[in-house]
């Protein structure tokens, strides 16, 4: 059996609780008549766009339905008891009848919760196994994710590509699934990879390898951010996942495999910027393939200009932002580990001109 079934929604009917999507739908209507608000947010867990997030969504509707029913019944009884049995002035001073307990009643409200618990446990186990314990298909693509304070490194080991902060993956057609498997670890402290529309969190932990998979069907940009406190700039360690059609993805890979632009004929400013870059401490932390810059402490800059954002998604990748970032990263992201290099205005201008050419 394919681990990525064509029928994308697991059927809870087989657990004997509800058939197909009737209950989830009913619950979403009752609970979230303002469902539009949830769908509008780019990071809503209730707007799933890949199989792991969708199976969680379906499970969550079941759990929400059951808990809502419990709340209405128990809360309603409580409210009724408080109103019905309130003390009234016309009451005599006599105490009410003292009742010390009832084995039958107490047994019933022990057994019924046990039945509910078993049901929820079985439905939950089904989703755990369907996400964590299914074999990886041969068509899967592998990406290595390395968490850093406070940015993401992505490596495509079989494709020879290293990039940062913007993860590109192919979309997955349910008929011919091409899920992306993420193999994750951290270079420093704990992080957590959370793109709510694609999947739940998986922690990114040093000295430990974790895996997860995602398979968005629709091309698009899926947002998220680090979800495990990792230090000063945990808040601006954002995640951007670009799902692309297989053709676009291949083109992107092809472009990323090129070594960095070296020929700046007709652009002496960029050429000077390259020289300044290569003679400064920039190269200790940053790599630009094809040059002497081979540092791995900071993001790979080989194709920096092809990215939409800088500083792990915190700012748009404009020359102005880039220049300010190089001048003083802490003015934009206090606590960032990149030091201010104290460059003069001329050097800042030429380095910015150089980096904007690295497409």
């Amino acid at each position: 059996m394919s681990p990525f079934p064509r029928r994308r929604r697991p059927a809870y009917g087989s657990v004997g609780l509800c058939s197909g999507r009737a209950l989830p739908l009913a619950v979403s209507c009752v609970l979230f008549s303002g469902n539009a608000a949830f769908a509008q947010s780019g990071t809503s867990i209730f707007a799933p766009a890949a199989t792991p997030a969708r199976s969680i969504f379906d499970l969550s509707m079941l759990v929400l339905g059951v808990t809502l029913a419990i709340f209405l019944i128990v809360g309603g009884l409580l409210l009724y008891a408080l109103i019905r049995y309130r003390s009234r002035p016309e009451h005599s001073d006599r105490e009410p009848a003292q009742i010390y307990g009832s084995n039958q009643i107490e047994l019933s409200w022990t057994v019924i919760p046990i039945l509910i618990v078993v049901t929820l446990f079985l439905s939950t186990t089904r989703v755990i196994l369907g996400t964590q314990a299914i074999p990886k298909p041969d068509t899967a693509m592998n990406v290595t994710v390395i968490g850093h304070q406070f940015w993401w490194e992505y490596r495509y080991p079989s494709l020879g590509v290293v990039t940062a902060n913007e993860l590109h993956i192919p979309t997955s057609d349910p008929a011919h699934p091409t899920p992306t498997y993420l193999t994750m670890s951290s270079a420093d402290t704990d992080h957590s990879f959370w793109v709510p529309r694609l999947a739940g969190k998986t922690d990114v932990i040093p000295n430990q390898i974790n895996t997860m998979w995602i398979d968005p069907e629709q091309p698009g940009l899926y947002l998220g951010q680090c979800a495990q406190y990792c230090g000063a700039q945990h808040a601006k360690m954002l995640l951007r996942v670009y799902a692309q059609s297989p053709g676009e993805f291949s083109a992107w890979i092809e472009q990323q495999r090129q070594p960095a632009v070296q020929d700046f004929a007709g652009n002496p400013v960029a050429a000077e910027g390259q020289a300044v870059f290569m003679h400064n401490a920039c190269i200790n932390c940053h790599a630009i393939v094809g040059t002497v810059a081979t540092g791995r402490f900071g993001p790979d800059l080989t194709h920096l200009a092809s990215r939409d954002t800088i500083a792990s998604g915190a700012f748009q990748n404009t020359p102005r932002n880039l220049r300010q970032w190089i001048d003083n990263p802490n003015s934009m992201k206090p606590g960032s580990l990149m030091p201010a290099m104290h460059l003069n205005d001329h050097d800042l201008d030429v380095i910015t001109a150089y980096l904007t050419q690295l497409r």
């Binding site: 929820l120 755990i128 932990i205 974790n210």
Partner: protein
């Protein structure tokens, strides 16, 4: 109702008050080994820290009220949530439940003091010192960013962020030592509770005749022994990592970050029950008195409490569903977590059955209990959502989980503690708290609580992680965080009314007499406040409600138990 009981074995004479020089009074409090004074010191100490932790919460909510706010720097924000969490758990919630336990347990079991009065004083003072030590870090620690900085590693201080390479300076050491010392105080106090409850009950009070509050403090004490020990061990291991070159949690030298998580959460989850069991204890005493009925299903309540105690030690890794434990371990902890909702549900049903058929009096203590019942029900249900591991993969470490545990700790524990204040304040001071101010306090706090914590669930569902100092406007979290912030204002005003009520009523409150609520347990048989050593003649009891038996000799409980 009568004010004194001319019944053999029950002493209702008021304590004599002599006027003494103020310095003598201070000296007496500093050196006291009296369980009531120590209890009150615990409570006062916790209330001071409650205000400090509350101010930290308000500062954080101002920062988060709108997107891209610059009210505090990220470094300050990170210290605020670390100190807020550590303060509220170790220096507010624990001391306040210990304080009420210290005050009430000997009175309720007809004893003259705790079993080890001097250990009791030691436990209080070591805990008090721990709190001061934690806050001394603001001036004394050379921290990550500058001299004078509080810990900023989060209240669960995940490795390896606490390693010296990521947390240079001493702020983390202040955190470690404070938690370590407060743990010693907790173990001392609980040793005292357990010994007192087991060996100092009055004549006739078999285990099966103890008030439920006493039972719950016994279970809570057992949990403290089991859970504080790994936490203490982990603090020692962390300090060894930081200063003696060991590598327990040092991932760069082959240590395990996940090991710390296990150590912390095998403390951290039962800790929730360490705090909520005493809250159940308070509800168990207050709800029957204001429903005018005996507690429904006493043996079930005891069994459920003991059951919760045992099960709660095997659920800890539900805090770790996203760390990559694998399907088998995740499945086990889902099961254990969901099973604990059965005994918890039994308690809620039994409280419901206690109210059913009673004559409910809506005095302030009961109002807070009613708030507790609804809010704890909701907290339990969101707990089931989080217990469902895949759902948890989305919700953990988001604002949903922050809302969930504040529902437990504020909506559950704090509401129960407020009920305790309104219920036992007359016993402690001899004067009633103002009912009018009490109702203002209740309604302000209920409105504030629900504005803050109901709306806090939604940003979590919309993808907002906890512990972020700011966020982008485009995420759509703005309006929700503003509502959450506005709620804190209502809560803060509610607390001010409460503090004013306590001070004002101490001097101007109505005289309470020994038994203002027409209650049934032994503490109400003493004068208000109770005399030194509580009972001139040790009482003897025949049932769980000795004062019911006294007041209703024609129909005593002892005939039915």
């Amino acid at each position: 109702m009568s004010t004194t009981y001319a019944v053999e074995g029950i002493d209702g004479t008021p304590a004599t008050q002599q006027s003494r020089p103020p310095l003598n009074v201070v000296f007496e409090w500093l050196t006291t080994v009296d369980h009531k004074k120590i209890g009150l010191m615990y409570i006062t100490y916790a209330l001071i820290f409650l205000v400090i932790g509350g101010v930290q919460a308000v500062l954080m909510r101002i920062q988060l009220a709108v997107s891209n706010n610059h009210f505090v720097s990220p470094q300050v924000f990170n210290r605020l949530f670390t100190m807020h969490g550590t303060t509220m758990i170790f220096f507010v919630a624990m001391p306040i439940v210990f304080g009420w336990g210290n005050y009430l347990v000997p009175l309720m079991i007809g004893a003259r003091d705790m079993a080890f009065p001097r250990l009791n004083a030691f436990s209080f003072w070591i805990s008090a010192f721990a709190g001061l030590l934690l806050y001394f870090s603001y001036v004394g620690a050379s921290g990550l960013y500058a001299a004078g900085s509080a810990p900023d590693v989060g209240w669960f201080a995940y490795a390896p962020l606490t390693a010296r390479v990521f947390s240079p300076g001493h702020s983390t050491d202040y955190w470690t030592l404070a938690v370590f010392l407060s743990g010693i105080g907790s173990i001392g106090t609980c040793l005292n509770f357990a010994t007192t409850i087991i060996s100092m009950r009055c004549k006739g009070m078999k285990m099966s005749k103890m008030p439920l509050l006493v039972w719950l403090y016994l279970v809570m004490s057992g949990l403290v022994f089991v859970t504080i020990s790994p936490l203490t061990a982990a603090q020692i291991m962390l300090t060894m990592d930081r200063y003696l070159g060991s590598h327990f949690f040092d991932t760069q030298a082959g240590g395990s970050a996940v090991l710390w998580m296990h150590f912390f959460w095998i403390f951290g989850h039962p800790e929730v029950y360490v705090l909520i069991l005493p809250s159940f204890a308070i509800i168990n005493e207050v709800v029957p008195v204001f429903s005018r009925k005996a507690i429904f299903g006493y043996p079930t309540m005891v069994a459920a409490s003991v059951g919760i105690g045992f099960i709660s030690t095997s659920v800890w890794a539900h805090h770790m569903f996203s760390v990559g434990m694998g399907a088998a371990a995740n499945t086990f902890f889902v099961f254990a977590t969901m099973v604990i909702s059965v005994p918890t549900g039994m308690k809620i049903f039994n409280w419901l059955a206690t109210i059913w058929g009673g004559k409910v009096i809506f005095a302030t203590p009961m109002l807070f209990c009613i708030g507790f019942l609804f809010q704890f029900l909701i907290a339990g249900l969101t707990g089931i959502m989080l217990g469902s591991a895949p759902f948890d993969w989305q919700l953990t470490n988001s604002y949903f989980v922050v809302a969930h545990f504040h529902y437990v700790i504020v909506g559950g524990i704090l509401f129960a503690v407020f009920a305790a204040f309104y219920y036992w304040y007359p016993k402690v001071t001899g004067r009633m708290l103002s009912e009018t101010l009490g109702k203002w306090h209740f309604w302000l706090f209920v409105i504030g609580f629900h504005l803050t914590f109901d709306f806090m669930h939604i940003p979590g569902i919309l993808g907002m992680p906890r512990r972020i100092y700011t966020y982008e406007a485009s995420r759509g979290w703005d309006g929700l965080n503003m509502i959450v912030g506005i709620g804190t204002v209502f809560q803060a005003v509610g607390i001010l009314v409460f503090v004013y009520n306590m001070v004002h009523s101490y001097f101007k409150g109505k005289e309470a007499g020994p038994d203002p609520w027409d209650a049934w347990t032994l503490e109400w048989s003493t004068s208000s406040p109770p005399p030194d050593y509580n009972f001139a003649v040790l009482p003897a009891v025949k049932s769980r409600r000795p004062l019911w038996d006294l007041k209703h000799p024609e129909d005593p409980d002892s005939d039915y138990e």
